[in-house]
């Protein structure tokens, strides 16, 4: 039976891991290679590296990070942040990434998903969606701040429940998140990384309704992100939200739980897991 996956997410700025690196037993806590090895040994099923480097001249350091990590750590690596073209995808895959994730660039140019999937296969194209629940009154003032041309078919309507945000959650798009994920999977996304902006950072659990709505609509794997505060939250995302994988950052980075503890707990709840 295919197991559910636990995926730690590492934020990388100028080649250094930046969030929650207070493991006492690491020599150089900000070193991506050392942290990736650490999670691999604990039993992480995959790793996600998110490049949060603001300046474009810092981008090449991510290529170097991916090259170094993939020489030492032999589990799947997904790289996101600042990937804007088919050539960017190529560079990352050749450096050792197994998948790349698009976010803002997919909204700016949805066809980029199709071109990339045609070149490299759907299995290595992830679309990351930052979704926020729409307040009743804002439906009527739904405003696209993205500056991109948005297909009216996927725009927010009165029945819409979640809106897609881009630029790290800073800008609205006026796009209905449920319609968006259907479009991107048609275009060739092989996996969805779904972050609830309402839940992210709150540690009160993932947005189960959002996950469920999305899982119902697509046949590609869904990774839940945003909101994990304890081990039951991981189980809820899978059992109630029908997610295929759970991504978490702070509960692992700050040493609240180990991956091993998380897996043991999920196993006890009857979730198929690689122990």
């Amino acid at each position: 039976m295919l197991t559910k996956r636990i995926i730690p997410c590492l934020d990388v700025d100028q080649g250094k891991v930046v969030k929650g690196v207070n493991f006492v037993n690491l020599r150089n806590a900000g070193d991506p290679v050392e942290l990736a090895s650490f999670y691999n040994e604990q039993g992480a099923d995959e790793l996600v590296f998110l490049d949060i480097t603001a300046s474009s001249d810092g981008r090449n350091t991510m290529v170097d990070v991916v090259q170094r990590v993939s020489k030492e750590v032999f589990i799947p690596l997904t790289v996101g942040g600042g990937i804007r073209s088919v050539n960017d995808v190529r560079v990352m895959l050749e450096s050792g990434a197994d998948k790349v994730s698009f976010n803002t660039a997919a909204v700016a140019d949805p066809d980029l998903i199709k071109r990339s999937a045609n070149h490299f296969g759907n299995q290595c194209i992830v679309v990351a969606v930052d979704a926020r629940r729409i307040e009743a009154e804002s439906k009527f003032s739904a405003q696209d701040q993205s500056g991109f041309h948005i297909n009216p078919d996927i725009s927010i309507k009165n029945s819409s429940e979640w809106e897609v945000f881009i630029y790290g959650g800073r800008k609205r798009t006026g796009i209905d998140a449920i319609k968006w994920i259907q479009l991107v999977t048609q275009l060739g996304a092989g996996e969805l990384l779904v972050t609830s902006m309402d839940s992210d950072g709150m540690q009160n659990g993932y947005d189960i309704n959002l996950l469920n709505e999305i899982s119902k609509k697509v046949s590609v794997p869904v990774i839940a992100s945003g909101g994990a505060g304890n081990l039951d939250h991981l189980c809820d995302a899978i059992i109630e939200g029908n997610a295929d994988a759970v991504l978490a950052a702070s509960i692992f980075h700050f040493g609240k739980y180990t991956i091993k503890q998380a897996k043991q707990h999920m196993h006890e709840k009857g979730i198929p897991i690689r122990l």
Binding site: S70, F74, I75, G96, P221
Partner: protein
């Protein structure tokens, strides 16, 4: 430890993410050449045949590099050979994924997963070893490996099956016949157990050059 001078040739036919396979073999101390040149490849002690992408583009890539005949000869001469993922599927006769005939080393074809399961089959799944083989030496019972694929090989000759895996139905996840081994999963993405499989292949190749 493998003898230092055993040389692994990785077949480069522009249809795979072969860098990770190369990195994994390099990591365990093998001497590796990556090439699309038949002569260079057949001079190696053992061949590794990775693969990703679609059936037709893979077969066209092999034809373009004039590699179809040399690969068949290498296998027919019973030299050590390891197929990975698409490199297992292409050993069959034909594939539901495309129109190009495959290498036809084994009878049978390649089928698409059907039913309610999500496609691709992506993630860690259990490999049920049904026949003992050196490639699985010293592994735990029913080990987990990482899979990414939408199609699977269905060989007619059941005696070549080494392992099966469940995804809706049971499918063939590894085969072996003489000095040829082929696996549907990705050892280079399966952590330390995956590296053990590559170490086992090095030892197997060394013993069967």
């Amino acid at each position: 430890m493998p003898r230092k001078n055993i040389r692994i040739g990785i077949i480069d036919y522009a249809a795979s993410n072969l860098r990770s396979v190369e990195k994994a073999f390099t990591h365990i101390g093998a001497e590796v050449i990556v090439s699309s040149n038949a002569k260079e490849l057949t001079n190696a002690d053992a061949l590794v045949f990775p693969g990703q992408g679609s059936n037709d583009s893979a077969m066209q890539g092999l034809a373009k590099a004039s590699l179809i005949q040399p690969i068949k000869e290498f296998v027919n001469n019973d030299r050590p050979f390891l197929g990975i993922c698409m490199g297992l599927q292409l050993l069959m006769e034909s594939s539901e994924e495309g129109n190009e005939p495959c290498l036809g080393i084994f009878e049978g074809n390649v089928k698409r997963f059907s039913g309610q399961m999500k496609i691709p089959h992506m993630g860690w799944n259990k490999v049920k070893i049904i026949r003992k083989h050196p490639i699985f030496k010293d592994l735990p019972d029913n080990p987990y490996f990482y899979f990414v694929h939408s199609y699977y090989a269905d060989p007619l000759e059941k005696t070549i099956i080494l392992s099966t895996t469940n995804y809706g139905d049971e499918f063939v996840s590894a085969i072996a016949s003489d000095n040829l081994i082929a696996v549907q999963f990705h050892p280079e993405k399966s952590g330390s157990i995956g590296l053990d499989v590559y170490r086992n292949f090095l030892q197997f190749a060394e013993a069967n050059i």
